[in-house]
Symmetry: C2
Subunit: 561 residues, 2 copies
């Protein structure tokens, strides 16, 4: 008899539910619900009221998450033709840090009529970047006070993180802060809605909220140094009880069962993060193989048995990805976004016309032309910093660079240089990990870019010198969430005892693999040396022209002569 | 009674004749003849025979020059309604160094049936770049032997110069070299055809053939060091008799009179170079005001009373532009070409569509959008080296650079950054001249870009801090040639005694002028400091990545892995 698990992947614009067979990971049905209010970055979605948001804000409506449960899950079940009696577990993954303030019973503050028009009462999406002043204060105080946790996060935390966002609420809307009984990740809030029990996951706590299994959260004294009212933030608004990855958070409530069409009591897994849940879904349950989720940006994850300080990575968390390992995370902030910007802003119409004529995507056309070039043939080299640099420089103020253009330079040549630049950026991350004791033997690349572009994957193999593997599933986060659902159900219920067991049964790599071409080695080693030299010159203080330019731009835009 | 002078401007693709009034410079008629064979860079124009040319070759057909005299001059006279009896003089200007081998009577070797299929028998156009090995040998030997002339040319001569081309003939076609009674600038060859007398002009001799009024040519010993057969090149194939700028070379022969429709004996001026003849036509007959001829590339000329070594300029020649002054020349190899490349290769179709819809040129559209930005607002900075750097680095191997791009960067922002980069390049040249004793008080900018683009001229004024003036004539080289024709005729014939007199009467500045906007000063000073820092880092050996990239490109194109 078949047993199924449901995975729900909450993205930035929509939520996707999949129904998979726990025996082999086969996807039997899926459905997507596009959030009614999407990313709220201009004005609150309030009929008849106009509440504009400042720059860099990004909010969401928590009701959109419930609509995913009410719409996409039943649709996926129907598509799969699965009997709810055969569904043994449910797991979810989420963007992070995406957080909201609630009452003690879990009611989002933004649903209270008197707080509906208060932006700080809504969900702050991961890419809400308006808490930079708070992040700066958090980092400055951590350095000043010699906080031991700072090196675990590469020496700097970002405006996207939990305490930056929480402190911004306190700074700008102290009444909202005061009324918030809980400050909670949206991932955990959804699990709370599903199970009726507030359960905090260790992944967002570890990667986004400065928590570790050994040391817990930063001390009240540290938080008080940021603001006396912030000293008790953990005890008053959060929880020191952090669940374990792979555990069962609880069973579906009757209400949640009615939303989803699943049976009451169905096992629900502890929540997880989209990138992290993808690791076992990409077959990785041991040290050495890196998982890269390649989309608009890229997230890199790798496991290691021990604890290593790696300057410039996003962070590492014990048991943060899989129990028993330290999970290291790094990132590149401009990958698919980079190519999308280029195609939109720097490719002449004749290429678009040719793509239309051939009936192919413009990226496909450019990649085909770029693929005909040998390494070095473009004569170009770029620094992939159009959106700053996440790892290993952790500097959002850096800008893009292109060098070597001539009057014969063509759009496919620039496209190739941009692809190569992102691959060099990945190689920098891999070398930083390896130099600090975290070996990387090969890369399992998931996400749209990895699935769609053999050209890009071959460049990555050649540049990094690491084989690139591709998972069979094109929905690895949702599959990963379903795998955790099967583990939450447990082996006795027909699921799996551990996530490693689930991975062995349910995750597969495609036969497609990209191995480094030794013939490209010399040229790419030469180009990489030049990349690193420019990287260090412009990224480590040799020449701060990128920051000077950003400062001039800000002044000019502000109308300062 | 009106008196007229004819100016003939021999360009790369065509020749233009103008008829002007010697009293006020008013242009009464003009006509253009497009060379039948244009720039010959792929195969010789021989019916039934296929003679392919190697890369970097650029030849011309000397008969095309005679067709300009036979076609454009009579047409211009007809358009002007001028009586040939009232035409007192004729002057010509030419690209340089454009040179050819001839027999003793002036017959081009390429017209001899037995040499017709020999590429080295044809005219080598200024942009024939295949003599780089010879230029390298010339520079190397000059440094080794401590030749006193080398510093006058900024320390390096180029593959475009006379002796590079002459030595290439000897190297590759010694029989053509042996049969050449004369090696001569095309400018001087045309004057020879017009007057029947071989007359060598001092401008090409000084700027392109290492001649000076005080020291003459390099010594036979030096030439012999390049190749023993080359020791007597000056005495055997050229002439040590160099005429003076502004002198009469002779009178029109009966044959040339029949070609042109002018009267036999009409005064013909000593030949001159297009950029240099433009100086007095731009009203400049004294030190201090720089003339910039802005087209695909830019040529800068400025006069000074004394002799100053200015590192990195193209050269200086006593009496080379105007008698009584040292004429300094510098250049930027990528100006209009830069913007043309950008529009063709990096501007999305929607801008082209918008320009078509508005009925404006794409450059006009982009300039209008770019003009709305404040200095610094693009957040971008470029090095204008898409075609290498002529002054002050004299390095064709350098490449372009763009820094500061973000995911919000637009095509008009990049366009503005490229315009600004060429302006920063001009400021580097001006500062090099001024730092070495050659002051520049303002710039008279001629050529298509200066005439057509108020936006570009305002950026140049703001960046350089120098007012930019524009001549009334949009054909300054042809006007300048006609002015020299009027001087060759002399005051007694109704012309002018000196080129200064001719300039006072015939050259005019437009009322349009561009003055530096003090409000832009701080931002541009900051950007210029950053430009110079990048310029010196990438251009003076701090980081040779551009050369490494060029080397990789050459190897890749050659199929070397």
């Amino acid at each position: 008899m078949s047993r199924y698990s449901v995975g729900v992947d909450f993205g930035s614009e929509s939520g996707r539910a999949v129904v998979v067979d726990v025996a082999d990971g086969r996807q039997l049905g899926s459905a997507v619900y596009a959030y009614r209010h999407g990313v709220i970055d201009a004005r609150l979605p309030l009929p008849g009221r106009d509440v504009a948001l400042p720059p860099d804000w990004a909010l969401q409506d928590p009701d959109d998450y419930l609509r995913v449960l009410q719409t996409a899950v039943p649709e996926a079940l129907a598509a799969a033709g699965a009997d709810p009696a055969d569904v043994i577990g449910l797991g979810i993954d989420f963007t992070a840090c995406t957080m909201l303030p609630t009452r003690a019973d879990g009611t989002p503050l933004c649903l209270l009529p008197e707080l509906r028009a208060e932006p700080h009462a809504w969900v702050k999406l991961w890419k809400h970047h308006a808490a930079q002043p708070e992040a700066d204060r958090i980092n400055e105080a951590a350095r000043r006070l010699g906080e031991a946790w700072l090196p675990r996060y590469g020496g700097k935390i970002s405006s996207e993180w939990f305490f930056s966002k929480a402190l911004q609420i306190l700074d700008e809307a102290p009444d909202v802060y005061a009324r918030a009984d809980r400050l909670i990740e949206a991932a955990d809030w959804v699990v709370w809605r599903l199970t009726g029990v507030e359960t905090r996951n260790p992944t967002t706590a570890g990667y986004k909220a400065i928590w570790s299994k050994r040391d817990g959260f930063p001390s009240p004294a540290y938080f008080a140094a940021l603001d006396p009212r912030f000293g008790d933030v953990v005890d008053a608004k959060m929880s020191r009880a952090i669940a374990r990855t792979g555990d069962r958070a609880g069973g579906l409530t009757a209400e949640a069962a009615s939303w989803t069409g699943l049976r009451e009591g169905t096992a629900v897994a502890v929540a997880n993060v989209d990138a992290h849940v993808a690791v076992p879904a990409a077959t990785v349950v041991e040290p050495g193989r890196m998982v890269a989720i390649m989309g608009t940006s890229t997230c890199h994850m790798v496991l290691a048995a021990g604890e290593h300080l790696v300057p410039g990575i996003c962070g590492y968390v014990e048991d943060g990805i899989l129990p028993g390992y330290f999970g290291y995370e790094a990132g590149q902030s401009c990958v698919g976004d980079h190519f999308a910007w280029f195609v939109e802003n720097a490719v002449p119409g004749r290429y678009h016309a040719a793509a239309r004529e051939l009936g192919v995507d413009i990226h496909e056309l450019l990649q085909e032309e770029a693929a005909r070039l040998r390494p070095g043939e473009s004569g170009l080299l770029a620094l992939d910093w159009w959106n700053g640099n996440r790892s290993v420089l952790v500097d959002a103020e850096l800008g893009g660079l292109l060098v070597g253009a001539t009057l014969a330079t063509t759009a496919p040549e620039v496209y190739r240089a941009l692809v190569e630049a992102t691959a060099f950026g990945t190689r920098v991350i891999i070398e930083a990990l390896e130099a600090n004791g975290v070996p990387v033997t090969e890369v399992v690349a998931a996400g749209g870019l990895a699935q769609r572009s053999p050209f890009i994957m071959q460049v990555y193999a050649d540049v990094t010198g690491k084989p690139q593997r591709i998972p069979v599933s094109d929905q690895v986060p949702a599959l990963g969430a379903a795998m955790f659902g099967a583990v939450a159900a447990g082996a006795a219920a027909g699921g799996h005892a551990t996530i490693a067991d689930a991975a062995a049964a349910m995750a597969r790599l495609s036969d497609v693999r990209y191995d480094p071409d030794p013939a490209t080695r010399d040229a790419y080693d030469t180009l990489y040396r030049e990349y690193v030299r420019l990287h260090d010159y412009f990224g480590r203080g040799g020449n701060d022209v990128m920051k000077t330019l950003r400062g001039l731009r800000s002044r000019a835009k502000a109308g300062v002569a």
